[in-house]
């Protein structure tokens, strides 16, 4: 048996865990809080990945005095040039990283915002399918859109920390960046929702019509929620492009969306901590099975199917015993709780 590289395994697992955590936390904001059945999560992840990949490859060539339109990054020459030029300069690499993250946020967020328009036309029952179909449309478009490499996609995307030299160290720094963004997402979502805004989102989810009658601008609230959720997912996508150093249309199949849904349902709708646990369990199991299944030598059934089977089994078992997922939704924490407790304990203060 080959020696087990624990550090390597952990870095790999935690990076994937981080990327999916951002998707799961934001899906929980959209679906768990605002009741938006976003079956198109992969769209925004994909937009972020392509924006990051395109900006980084084109600009790496351009800023190194290679004309990216004569020697495009998806051509053999372009790939050779990218490998030769990419990741040499710290300032350029970091600059491109920052630009990619920002552009990915804005691009994915804006598409999310704009997609609420058709969503509101079709009514809540079809939101999921509209977004799902949009994802497939995007994938078909990308397959045939030459400037981003068509069905082959873009490869040799320069790593943001390639200039560090030691590949293990650069992977580790990248992991820290990913985990930093997870922490930012988690804290931001918790702060955002433990507030009157979170209350309003849950109200919209519970009864859209009642919320509307209480003056809440339901379409605007949904658009804003999708902007935020998609923006963060776009950043996760950009990081994913750097992690794999390549993107292609078939990375963005609906299965990605359903994986994220499974993680969120497993962890508990409306509970961000639950989502992180759901992602951790899922990705850990996935990684372990990826290690173990080849060793088992199962040839009759593809290891992929075995993984899917386990995932399905896990969900069924957990939901059987905990219908709300591992962690149930909790009442929001706002100072109103504290104020109410004071008034009720003192027994005074009745208006």
């Amino acid at each position: 048996m080959p020696e087990f590289d624990l550090i390597g395994f952990l870095v790999q697992w935690l990076t994937v865990f981080g990327l999916y955590s951002i998707l799961a936390i934001t899906l929980n904001l959209e679906a768990g809080f605002a009741g938006l059945t976003n079956f198109g999560k992969v769209v925004f992840y994909g937009i972020g990945a392509y924006v990051g990949a395109t900006l980084t490859t084109y600009l790496t060539l351009y800023l190194n005095n290679v004309d990216p339109f004569e020697c495009p990054p998806y051509s053999i020459d372009g790939i050779v040039k990218l490998i030769e030029l990419g990741g040499k300069s710290p300032s350029l690499s970091i600059g491109l990283l920052a630009l990619s993250l920002l552009a990915a946020f804005i691009a994915a967020g804006s598409v999310g915002f704009l997609l609420t328009y058709p969503i509101l036309r079709v009514g809540p029952a079809f939101v999921g399918f509209t977004l799902l179909s949009f994802g497939e449309l995007m994938r078909i478009f990308l397959r045939h859109y030459e400037p981003v490499g068509g069905s082959k996609g873009l490869a040799a995307i320069p790593r943001p920390f390639g200039w560090v030299g030691d590949p293990r160290l650069s992977s580790f720094i990248f992991l820290l960046l990913v985990l930093g963004l997870v922490a930012l997402t988690y804290i931001a979502m918790n702060k955002l929702t433990n507030s009157p805004m979170g209350r309003m989102l849950r109200a919209v989810r519970d009864d859209e019509i009642a919320a509307l009658c209480l003056g809440k601008h339901v379409p605007g609230i949904k658009a804003l929620t999708l902007f935020i959720g998609s923006g963060f997912s776009g950043m996760a996508g950009a990081l994913m492009a750097y992690y794999f150093t390549s993107v292609n249309p078939d990375m963005f199949v609906p299965a990605v969306t359903f994986n994220v849904w499974a993680m969120v349902i497993l962890g508990g709708m409306g509970n961000f901590t639950g989502s992180i646990i759901g992602v951790a369990l899922f990705t850990l199991m996935d990684r372990l099975l990826a290690f173990i299944t080849p060793a088992l030598g199962v040839a009759v059934i593809s290891p992929d199917y075995i993984r899917w089977m386990f995932v399905g089994l896990l969900i069924v078992v957990v939901l059987l015993f905990m219908p709300k997922g591992l962690l149930a939704e909790r009442p929001l924490k706002t100072p109103a709780l504290d104020e109410a407790r004071k008034l009720l304990v003192e027994g005074g203060g009745g208006a």
């Binding site: 009157p196 849950r202 109200a203 519970d206 009864d207 009658c213 706002t334 208006a351």
Partner: protein, 256 residues
């Protein structure tokens, strides 16, 4: 008193069903007006048209605006009608079922700083307002004997409390006009009277109420004026004592 709400020749057809068929009513400021009639006479539909759920097939709805003139509100969306100062409750209560009682009541107030996305993450910006609203909310819940249920979920409440809570939720805002759809249905007699006493108190403070209610024993003691609907048309109107003695009304109620 000048009118705060007027419906002129209001009609709403659903295919062949004439749920409202040319109804003209006016609600004076600082009054409690009753809207009664047998089941299916169009009372809820009138509320739905006034609050922007449906566009009327014919006619118009006018609301007194802040500068004192009458302004058309038919065709506005429900959230816009709310922001003009009109709150409604539903015949079949529509509470936020996964929120606590306190949270339900706290959803109502408009212009909450903490509902804005750029302020929500910063508690210091909205904490003061939140505490004030909580104080008001708990005060209202106490007033109607619901202090035991402040942290309860809606699923744990009795039908009567659910009905009551929907009205309380509406009272959390300083609207000008309240449209209450059967607020006392299923609520016990004593609490129902308490509710109407409270409504009367709010009227003294300057608020206006248009109330659909089947419990005439309670309603008639509190209203200034009553409209009676029948098959989408006005059957009768007047002071409570006049209306209850109107033979047409008696016949409609008995004849169904």
């Amino acid at each position: 008193m000048p009118n705060i709400l007027e419906a002129r020749d209001l009609a709403k057809y659903f295919g062949g069903v004439r749920a409202l068929d040319g109804v003209t009513i006016s609600v004076p400021e600082r009054s409690i007006v009753g809207l009664i009639g047998p089941n299916g006479s169009g009372k809820t539909t009138l509320f739905n048209v006034v609050t922007g759920f449906y566009e009327p097939t014919r006619g118009e709805v006018l609301l007194k605006n802040n500068s004192g003139s009458m302004e058309r509100i038919d065709g506005l969306n429900p959230n816009e009608v709310f922001l003009k100062g009109v709150v409604r409750t539903f015949q079949v209560p529509r509470l936020f079922t996964s929120l606590t009682v306190l949270e339900n009541v706290l959803v109502t107030p408009p212009v909450q700083i903490g509902e804005k996305v750029l302020d929500a993450p910063f508690k210091s910006r909205w904490e003061k307002q939140e505490r004030e609203l909580a104080k008001k909310a708990v005060g209202l819940l106490k007033k109607f004997g619901m202090e035991k249920y402040v942290y309860s979920r809606i699923t744990e409440l009795s039908v009567a409390h659910i009905k009551l809570l929907e009205t309380i939720r509406g009272l959390m805002t300083s609207a000008k006009l309240y449209l209450l759809d059967e607020p006392a249905a299923g609520v016990d007699y004593g609490v129902a009277r308490e509710l109407f006493n409270y409504i009367r108190g709010l009227r003294e403070e300057g608020l206006t109420f248009l109330i659909v209610e089947h419990r005439l024993d309670v309603l008639m003691d509190y209203v200034d004026y009553v409209y009676v609907l029948h098959n989408g048309k006005l059957l009768s109107e007047g002071k409570p004592s006049e209306v209850v003695n109107d033979p047409k009304v008696i016949e409609a109620y008995i004849g169904g």
